[in-house]
């Protein structure tokens, strides 16, 4: 009897494995964790895109719930998601942009062509702020609460459905 039970072990082990595979089939393998959740927005000091004289730092993010969007002129998906960002700005959400790895001309060109939903844009030509944010491509969007703590990190393109289903609820959660 005992041996018969033993002989069933491989089958049971395999069924568990198969169930696990089945579950995984439905998931998206490319989603990544963010290491920045619940952390303070990293300290930085940079100029704004429009005004080289004006300097900003992390205190910019305090006082109000903000969506920080990392974009670049070289990034096609950023162009595609601009309508969604403008929509978010229209809803009264405070938007701050990070112009990641661009020249000033290219950055300003981009905003002229595709719209500017941002209160201001942090100019990050060398990607230092982006690096500290753990950004590895654009676009990426961070939700920062009124105390300057990062609460949500959206990697990649924001689709119209994402605005409705994910971004807005997250913003409201932290208001």
């Amino acid at each position: 009897m005992k041996r018969r039970l033993l002989l069933f072990l491989p089958l049971i082990a395999f069924l568990g494995l198969a169930a696990f595979f089945y579950y995984r089939l439905g998931l998206d393998p490319s989603y990544r964790d963010s290491a920045l959740i619940k952390r303070d927005f990293p300290a930085f000091s940079a100029s704004t895109l429009k005004d080289p004289e004006r300097r900003v730092d992390e205190s910019l993010l305090k006082g109000e719930v903000t969506l920080v969007n990392v974009w670049g002129e070289w990034c096609p998906a950023c162009k595609q998601e601009m309508p969604q960002l403008l929509d978010l700005a229209d809803r009264g959400i405070r938007m701050v942009g990070v112009d990641y790895r661009d020249t000033r001309e290219k950055g300003q060109q981009f905003l002229e062509e595709f719209g500017d939903p941002f209160e201001l844009n942090i100019f990050d030509p060398d990607g230092d702020l982006g690096f500290d944010l753990g950004v590895y491509g654009a676009p990426e969007t961070f939700l920062v609460d009124a105390d300057g703590v990062i609460r949500y990190h959206h990697t990649g393109y924001i689709a119209p459905e994402d605005v409705r289903d994910v971004i807005v609820p997250e913003v409201e959660k932290w208001q």
Partner: protein, 666 residues
């Protein structure tokens, strides 16, 4: 007009093949169960038919590629009119649909060979084996026809030209690596079918192992070559000189290889001694299941970010169903039919039996460990515990000690006797080899360099420990004959196969130890006229030129390499831009040699007329793959042994329970 019909002919042929596979699956199995010779006889012709018609389908797909028929979606997505003809031929299997068709073709091919070469086996056994192969074949053909049809067409908007084959695949590696690999994966289906047939027939004596051994060896040899080719291809194609990255795709091929190695040894034990019968059956099921699982992992999109051969969930689901049904039914059959009472064949602590038991256990631990490491990130993620990565540091830390343990016992196993080996005798057979291994293993790296740290010495010692006892055994036994030559002839081909196989492992081990520790790398900035030195060679960039290939543009660095003795040769690394897709590719310049490779790759254009160039000196790297070839040769040689060609007249239809083989060795 007829050329336009070729894809349709192919499609139709596939459907016919499916029908034949279904008949092959059902009728012989039913015939064996109900003892109807006529039904059982359906197996062979159906196997022939299945192979012929899949062959026709495959030929049609290949023809579509060679004729640049871009109305076929598969051709349009993976080929291009500028592609050289040999890459068009290989592009057939360079994509999901075509490669699954190749799988099916090979499966049918193995089934055909199995049916043709089994005239001396009991009829019902043959019928069951062919039937099982028919079931698997049907499953794959259904998969092809329902989810991955290579013949779907883009009518009426036929594209002007194709999307081109990924430049990384436009290489000799694509021509050889996948077919060899698939031959291995698919080949294990035969021993699987034998095991299932044995379970179904209730005939679990050692006879089925005898019949299955040659098939297993051949499949294992192919898989060994396939893996070695994959490693070699990655080495010269990727541009950073690595040859194994413990990538999930690589692991997916290594798992059935490890299980297959355990199976080869387990089959030997069961055939010779009649012991571990259930375990061998389980291993046979497991090896093929790991092949199927590898196919699933690699095509379903479950593995994160390594490949998404088929991101289509329908495909992933279908393969999972195939895998689940096949393995569940097999393991259920195993649980129900494996003998409850194992016939306890005795053996002592020091015996070949116990050493092979240890061999199997170590191989199983290796297999489970690699499987665990590969799946662990997915499991954690599924449990919501975050995303981690498990990479080379983990696998190396665990695999290397296990390999060391394995090697220690490998020195003893082949020269130990079955059942019982007096300690004194074993000691007398190995003590000299042991001492020689220690001494030579320590000294050779010191004198021949390039690196002689502890790891290299250990690797050398273990490799010698594997080989020397075998050599001594051969010499001692051959000397006892009238002439040495005649003494050598006394050994069977199976024994020589084993010797070659173990020698192959030793050679690979030396290669791994030396290249991992003796690798020298320099990244330098070079403009025409600059020189750099490495490992006694002087590299001088003579000029930077541009060149146009059949479907690419290239920047070439012409580098003159001078040896210490003054002679020199040229190396020409390139940075290519493939025109159809705009993809850049680094073409490494490789100077191969038995004792070392020189490896030069172009990095970035530094703008001021110079380039970043990486120079690498890789000692004994070829030994890695040479060892693999030796192993495969050993596996094939063992099959050529005359005992497999001799028709067992007395055994026809009857297999006795305890029938230890007559041969003294292997």
């Amino acid at each position: 007009m007829l050329t336009k019909m070729i894809p349709e002919i192919g499609h139709f042929a596939l459907i016919i093949a499916l029908l034949m596979a279904l008949v092959q699956a059902v009728v012989p199995l039913a015939g064996a169960a109900t003892r109807r010779p006529l039904w059982m006889a359906y197996g062979r012709p159906m196997a022939v038919g299945q192979f012929v018609f899949i062959g026709i389908a495959y030929a049609c797909l290949t023809a579509s590629y060679m004729l640049d028929d871009f109305s076929v979606a598969n051709v349009a997505n993976n080929s291009n009119s500028l592609l050289p003809w040999y890459y068009k031929f290989s592009a057939v299997w360079g994509n999901h649909e075509g490669s699954v068709l190749l799988w099916s073709l090979m499966l049918a091919g193995w089934g055909l060979m199995a049916s043709l070469c089994s005239r001396n086996l009991p009829r019902d056994m043959v019928a069951r084996v062919i039937g099982v192969l028919g079931v698997i074949g049907s499953g794959f053909l259904l998969f092809v026809l329902i989810t991955s049809n290579p013949f779907s067409r883009l009518l009426p908007n036929v594209p002007q030209d194709g999307a081109d084959l990924n430049p990384l695949l436009q290489d000799f590696g694509l021509v050889v690596h996948p077919p060899m690999l698939y031959m291995g994966y698919v080949g294990f289906s035969v021993v699987f079918a034998f095991a299932i047939a044995a379970l179904l027939g209730g005939r679990l004596d050692a006879a089925w192992t005898r019949w299955a051994r040659p098939w297993t060896n051949i499949a294992w040899a192919f898989l060994t070559v396939g893996i070695a080719l994959g490693s070699w291809w990655a080495y010269y194609e990727l541009g950073w000189g690595g040859w194994w990255f413990w990538d999930p795709v690589e692991n997916a091929s290594l798992l059935p290889w490890l299980a297959g190695t355990a199976l080869i040894h387990s089959l030997a034990v069961t055939e010779k001694r009649g012991s571990f019968k259930s375990w061998t059956v389980l291993l046979a099921i497991a090896t093929f299941s790991l092949s199927l699982m590898g196919t699933f992992l690699v095509r379903s999109g479950v593995l994160t970010s390594v490949h998404a051969f088929a991101n289509d969930p329908a495909r992933g689901f279908f393969i999972l169903m195939l895998l689940a049904i096949t393995v569940t039914l097999s393991l259920l059959l195993f649980a129900l039919r494996a003998p409850k009472v194992s016939h306890k064949v005795g053996f002592n602590w020091l015996s070949r039996d116990s050493l092979l038991l240890i061999n199997n256990i170590v191989l199983v631990i290796m297999t489970v460990t690699i499987l665990l490491g590969t799946l662990y990130p997915l499991i954690l993620d599924a449990l919501g515990l975050g995303k981690i990565s498990v990479g080379p540091p983990y696998f190396n830390t665990l695999f290397v000690p296990l390999a060391i343990v394995m090697s220690l016992f490998m020195g003893l196993g082949p020269i130990a006797r079955w059942k019982q080996m007096p300690g004194r005798e074993l000691y007398s057979r190995v003590w000299l080899s042991g001492v020689a291994a220690l001494v030579l293993g320590a000294l050779i790296p010191v004198f021949y360099g390039p690196e002689w740290n502890a790891q290299v010495m250990l690797g050398m010692m273990l490799a010698l420990w594997i080989v020397l006892p075998l050599l001594r055994d051969i010499v001692v036994k051959a000397r006892s004959a009238k002439t040495f030559g005649r003494g050598l002839k006394k050994f069977s081909l199976a024994h020589w196969g084993m010797v070659l196989g173990h020698l192959g492992i030793a050679v690979t081990m030396v290669g791994v130890a030396v290249v991992s520790n003796g690798n020298i790398e320099r990244s330098v900035r070079m403009a025409p006229g600059d020189s750099a030195e490495m490992a006694g060679y002087t590299f001088t960039m003579q000029e930077l030129t541009e060149r146009r290939g059949p479907n690419y543009l290239a920047d070439t660095a012409v580098i003159r390499v001078e040896r210490e003795n003054g002679s020199s040769f040229m190396m020409r690394p390139e940075k290519r831009l493939y025109l159809a897709t705009g993809t850049p590719l680094t073409q490494v310049a490789l100077r191969a040699g038995f004792t070392r490779d020189l490896y030069v790759a172009m990095g970035e254009d530094l703008g001021d007329g110079s380039w970043a160039i990486r120079l690498q000196y890789k000692p004994l790297v070829r030994w890695l793959w040479l060892g693999g070839l030796l192993m495969a040769a050993g596996g094939l040689l063992a099959v050529a042994d005359k005992r497999y060609r001799r028709a067992p007249k007395r055994r026809r239809g009857v297999a006795s329970d305890t029938a230890p083989s007559q041969e003294a060795s292997a």
